[in-house]
């Protein structure tokens, strides 16, 4: 039940964010350059922080080097080849499975 309430709060917050721009900027008003730059940085910063947190850390310390790190390198390599989210996900997942099968 706790998780469900949290999901509902997060859903309301997410909807408010998604609707905010539509509601506020449908007329003549425009987003200020400063806010636009700040919002543009929010996604990369937040996602990089979460990626680093979950990839490099585990149980309060550093994650032992292995399949997780190699999966990230494989995903980066796929990005060089095909700059497409689905291919990066597929390449990373396949690499992770292979490294796990190899005992890493």
């Amino acid at each position: 039940m706790t998780a469900l309430i949290l999901f509902f709060l997060a859903s309301a917050l997410t909807f408010a964010i998604k609707y905010a721009g539509i509601a506020l900027f449908a007329g003549e008003r425009e987003l200020s350059p400063g806010w636009a730059k700040t919002l543009e940085l929010a996604g990369p910063a937040a996602m990089a922080a979460i990626a680093a947190n979950t990839l490099l850390l585990s149980g309060g310390g550093f994650r032992a080097f292995g399949a997780w790190h190699l999966m990230a390198l494989a995903a980066a390599a796929v990005t060089v080849w095909k700059r497409d989210t689905n291919w990066i996900l597929l390449g990373g997942a396949v690499a992770f499975a292979v490294f796990r099968l190899l005992g890493l």
């Binding site: 469900l4 949290l6 964010i17 998604k18 636009a36 543009e40 937040a46 990626a51 979950t54 997942a93």
Partner: protein, 257 residues
Amino acid sequence: MTERDAFSLRVPRHLRHEFAHGAKEMLPLSIGGAVFGLAMGALIASSTTIRPWAGAVGTWTLNAGAAQLALMDLLERGAPWLIILGTVAVVQARFALYSASLAPIYKVFPRRWRIVLAYLLTDQAASFEKHFTPLLPDPVRRRWFFLGGAGLFTGLAAGGAMLGIVIGPVIPSSWQIGFIVPLMFLAIILRTVSDRPSLMAALIAAGVAVAARDLPYGANVIVATVAGIGVTRLLAPASWYRGAPTGEANEPREGTP
């Protein structure tokens, strides 16, 4: 075509055609969304803090893959709600930018359509709608086209998650399905970070997240995010940014469900 007809079952054939056309155009991206949803569902099924039915309901109400992964990860780590909701807000902040750039397109739609399309807004849907708007001058046809595309994407992504919740329990824990969390975020970052300010913010945030790992309640993520944004805004010269604050320069890029 009146507004009253909009959500009734008596939808004229030409609008049903636009709906189907939008869904067809969105199908390739939606397949990726379904696969991602499948992994998300498996992650929900393996969670120790989220009951599968709550995860299923939450998937439909939230309709935001990155935010849901962040929420689930922090909940699993025992973070307080304020930290979790703060993190969700910063992960989702880019949607304020997307919706601001879509506002001129949506303003001719009735309010209930704006509400539904806002709920269905994802990185993919925002990119899709910006791309097809010039090709659809009639706003009534356009909104049905958007509904077909964005609706299919959300339907397949959430449907994939439901399937993942069902089949998740048979996935052995040795598979470490949690790897999908960093992989998904990496995929978005690697795909979308193409300018120097975004790269700088991402690198600073990643570094601070690791350096601040001892902060309690998983607060290192939100501290790192604020640091990444703040330091970049302070240090990055104006010439590094892509252009005008709204309009085409801010066109959404393909990312996550």
